[in-house]
C-alpha cells in the first residue's frame, strides 16, 4: 500500500506543509492549543529559508486576523490559524474579512469553548463561526487536511467567490495524530493555485477606501452579494475538486458517502468521529447484518443540502451526530439544525434524530455509536412526528 513519497505527519504538520506549498506571503497568528504547532512549523520553514513569507507575531487573535485582513487587502496571499477562544476573539474580524471579500485561509484545529477551560476537541468553535460568511470545510484524515489548504486558496481566490475559507481538523484527534501523508510540492501546488491577485487591493496610485461606512442605502446590497458569492463558492468547490482529482488523483466531494449504496440507515457526522463510525460500520454493524452507512459532511458552508437530502429521502431512519450544542435552540445540535431545515424545504419525511456526543474531548466509543445506532433503528417504521424533540446526550453522566 505504501504510496510514493508518503511522510508520517500530524494533522498540524500536514497543514503547515500545504501552506508552504501554497507559497503564502504573510502568516499572522497567535499561539493557542491545539493549533500552535501549525504556525510553529511554518515559522521553522521561514527561519530555514524554505518559505519566503512575512511572519507577523501579534498580541492576540483579534490582531492576528486584523493583520491578515490588512495584508490580504494589500494583495498578499495570507494564512492564519486558530482554535477555541482564539476563534472567539477573532469573531468580530471574521465578519469583516468575509464582507470585505478577502480570500484569507484559516486553519482551525477545533476545540471546546470555555468555561470550564478545556483544551480538548469538540466543534463548539467551528459551529460558532458558521454564520460569519466564511466558506467552511472539515477534513477527517491528515491527507485531506493537507489537500484542503490547496483547495481553499483555489476557492477563496476565485474571482466569482472572493471569500475567506476555514479548513478545520479535529484538535488532537487529528492535529496531534501522525498519519501517512503524501505532500504536494510547491511547484505542482502553484500550477493549481497560481499566485495572481484576483481581488480588489489597496494601491497608492489608485487610492480606494476599503470597509468604509455602509449606510442603509447600500449595506443590504453588500449582504445580498455575500449570499450570492456563497452560492458561487459551491460551484467553484465542485470545479476545483474535479480539477484537483485530475492533477493529484484524490477526489473530494462536499459530502462523503461510506457504505451507502445499499444502506437503509445512516449516521451523519463531521470530522474525526466519522472515522469512528466507519470503523463501527465495518467491524460491528455490517457483521450483524445492519445496513448502516455514513454520510460525512465535508463542506459545511455553503451547506450541501440537495445531495444530502437526495440520499436521506431513501432511508428508513437517520441519526445526526453533533459535537456542539446550540443552547436553547429548537433543534439541539447545530448540524442537526441544518439537516432539519434542508429536510423541511425538500419535503423529506425520513425520521431524523439528533445525538450530541464527545463534548470537551470525551471519546466517542463503539459503545456510544452502538447506542446511537440502536436509537436510529428504533425509528424504523415511525414517522417524523415520533422523533424525540430533545437530542440524545450520548456518553454523559446524568
Amino acid at each position: 500500500m505504501a504510496g510514493k513519497k508518503k511522510l508520517p505527519l500530524s494533522g498540524n504538520t500536514a497543514i503547515a506543509y500545504a501552506v508552504k506549498a501554497a507559497d503564502v506571503d504573510v502568516i499572522s497568528a497567535y499561539p493557542i492549543t491545539p493549533q500552535t504547532t501549525i504556525v510553529e512549523k511554518l515559522t521553522e520553514f521561514v527561519a530555514n529559508g524554505e518559505l519566503d513569507a512575512e511572519v507577523i507575531h501579534v498580541e492576540s487573535e483579534h490582531s492576528a486576523l486584523s493583520a491578515a485582513v490588512g495584508a490580504s487587502a494589500a494583495g498578499a496571499r495570507v494564512f492564519t490559524a486558530s482554535s477555541s477562544q482564539g476563534i472567539a476573539l477573532m469573531y468580530e474580524i471574521m465578519f469583516i474579512a468575509s464582507s470585505m471579500r478577502l480570500p484569507i485561509v484559516m486553519a482551525m484545529a477545533t476545540r471546546a469553548l470555555s468555561a470550564p477551560i478545556n483544551i480538548w476537541n469538540d466543534h463548539s468553535d467551528f459551529m460558532a463561526a458558521s454564520d460569519t460568511g466564511w466558506v467552511m470545510m472539515m477534513a477527517h484524515t491528515n491527507q485531506e487536511a493537507h489537500d484542503d489548504i490547496i483547495l481553499a486558496y483555489k476557492i477563496a481566490e476565485h474571482p466569482d467567490v472572493l471569500l475567506p475559507v476555514i479548513t478545520a481538523i479535529d484538535g488532537y484527534f487529528m492535529s496531534h495524530t501522525i498519519e501517512p501523508v503524501e505532500p504536494i510540492e510547491r511547484e505542482e501546488a502553484l500550477k493549481f493555485i497560481p499566485k495572481k491577485v484576483t481581488w480588489s487591493v489597496l494601491d497608492p496610485d489608485n487610492p480606494v477606501t476599503m470597509g468604509p461606512l455602509g449606510t442603509p442605502e447600500w449595506y443590504y446590497e453588500f449582504k445580498r452579494q455575500q449570499h450570492e458569492a456563497m452560492k458561487k463558492a459551491r460551484e467553484v468547490f465542485d470545479e476545483a475538486t474535479k480539477e484537483f482529482e485530475k492533477v493529484f488523483g484524490r477526489r473530494y466531494e462536499p459530502v462523503e458517502y461510506f457504505m451507502m449504496d445499499d444502506a437503509e440507515y445512516a449516521l451523519v457526522a463531521m470530522g474525526s468521529v466519522a472515522g469512528n463510525v466507519k470503523a463501527y460500520i465495518v467491524k460491528e454493524a455490517r457483521k450483524r447484518g445492519i445496513k448502516l452507512g455514513l454520510i460525512r459532511v465535508k463542506l459545511f458552508r455553503p451547506f450541501p443540502a440537495e445531495e444530502i437530502m437526495e440520499v436521506i429521502s431513501n432511508l428508513k431512519a437517520v441519526g445526526v451526530i453533533d459535537r456542539a450544542l446550540a443552547f436553547g435552540s429548537s433543534y439541539g445540535g447545530p448540524l442537526y439544525g441544518d439537516i432539519l431545515s434542508a429536510a423541511y424545504t425538500r419535503g423529506v419525511d425520513t425520521p431524523i434524530v439528533n445525538f450530541v456526543a464527545g463534548l470537551g474531548g470525551r471519546p466517542v466509543t463503539f459503545r456510544d455509536i452502538k447506542a446511537m445506532v440502536d436509537a436510529t433503528l428504533a425509528l424504523d417504521g415511525k414517522t417524523r412526528k415520533d422523533v424525540p424533540k430533545e437530542p440524545y446526550f450520548i456518553g454523559v453522566r446524568e
Partner: protein
Amino acid sequence: MGRFEIRWHGRGGMGAVTAAELTAMAAVKTGYYAVAFPEFGAERRGAPVKAYTRIDDEPIYEKTPIEEPDAVVVLDSSMVGQEAVLHGLKSGGWYIANTARDPEEVRKIIGRDDVKVATVNATKLAMEVFKAPIVNTAMIGALVAATGIVPLEKVEEAVRDRFPERYVDPNIKLLRQAYESVRKVV
C-alpha cells in the same frame, strides 16, 4: 498481519510520544498503515504519559484511544505492576518493560500468566549513551526484538528522519543495544 495496537506508558520527558511516532513512521516505511497519537493534554515533565500506535495493513479509520492493546511498553521502571499499564492488555499480548528485573519476575509482579513479557534495562543503557534516562529508542528496540512488528532497519530509517544529525548515531546505538539485550518469556 491484521491489526496491531501498542500503548506506551512513561513520564513526561522520557519520550513516550516520540516512541509512538517513530514506531508508526517505521511501520509506514515497512508498507503498513499506521497512526500514532499521545494521550491528549498531559504534556508536563514528570507526569504519567500515555501514547498510542496503531498499525494495520488496511486503512485505519478510528481515532479513539487504544483500550485493548496487543502490546504495552513501560518506559518508567517505577510503573511496572501498575494497574493502569496492564489495563485491557490482550491475552497473549506483550508486556515490555524497562527494568533490571528478569521477565519471569515481572510476570509474577503483574500476575498475568497469559501475557508474554520482555525486559531490558533501558535506563542503564541510556545513561551510558546519553548520560540521561531518555529511554524511548531503547524501548522501541525492545519492542521490535520481542514482537518483530517492524524490521529494525526501518526504525533506524525513522530515527535518521526524525532526529537532528548529532542525535542520530547515539540513538541508533541505543536502539541496537536494547534490541540485542532484550530478555523475554513467552
